[in-house]
Subunit: 107 residues, 2 copies
DNA sequence: CAAATGTATGAATAAAATTTCATATGAACA
DNA sequence: TGTTCATATGAAATTTTATTCATACATTTG
């Protein structure tokens, strides 16, 4: 599932499996557009693709790819409403993660 | 410095600049080996490259590349002590970021 | 049903990130 | 000084991620 050294990382409280999962989530979030998506959905609770596309000024297809990835990895959920598909933040913990870093004075 | 959409992301409390910085830090952390490094240095306050290499069972050169990247991005600091070079956690906030996610029940 | 709208998908490409390997550098020590 | 130990560095090879583009799919509406 992820890059793992030949004979791995057995140490400290966090198991290697958990470290991989954490890395997986971090990687899924580590992109300006995706951070913006999280921010948006942190404040809105559910938005359609076109809503997000307009607000972030990101092209439909590209956005769709980002959203699909984030949903696949469990960060977002989606439901259809007529022609639209609404996305919502499922793993709300990522808000804290972002805010934690965003709060750093030196950034 | 980072992938940014044509005409970007003007929205919410977090400025696009800050989102890019946050993404930058997240990306720098989003790797099992690097998470392990943070964990180790969260508990040890300073370790040499060979210390880390042995504990994590990661090959010298590869580790050096990871460490250099993390230092460059301000997450670690390093000081020489004779033949050794000791690395320490500079941006301690990343501990919280990792612990936040690590605390997720579903991981 | 045909056209329009909103979204997804897949293939091709482009750009980054990771890993490996060979070699360089710098400090210590015989 | 020459050798050894600890670490860094750089170039290639590989793998992963991001972007674009064309097109497909589903739902609504005329």
């Amino acid at each position: 599932m992820s890059t793992s050294p030949a004979a791995p990382l057995v140490d400290m409280g966090l198991s290697i499996e958990k470290m991989e999962k954490v890395a997986f989530i971090l990687k899924t979030t580590a992109h300006p557009t995706r951070i913006a998506i999280v921010q948006l959905l942190a404040a809105h609770d559910s938005l359609s693709v076109s809503d997000i596309s307009e607000r972030l000024n990101v092209e439909q297809s590209l956005l769709s790819h980002h959203l699909a990835g984030m949903r696949l990895k469990g960060i977002l959920s989606s439901t259809r409403d007529g022609k639209n598909i609404n996305y919502a933040l499922k793993m709300r913990e990522v808000i804290d993660v972002i805010q934690c870093l965003a709060g750093c004075t030196f950034l």
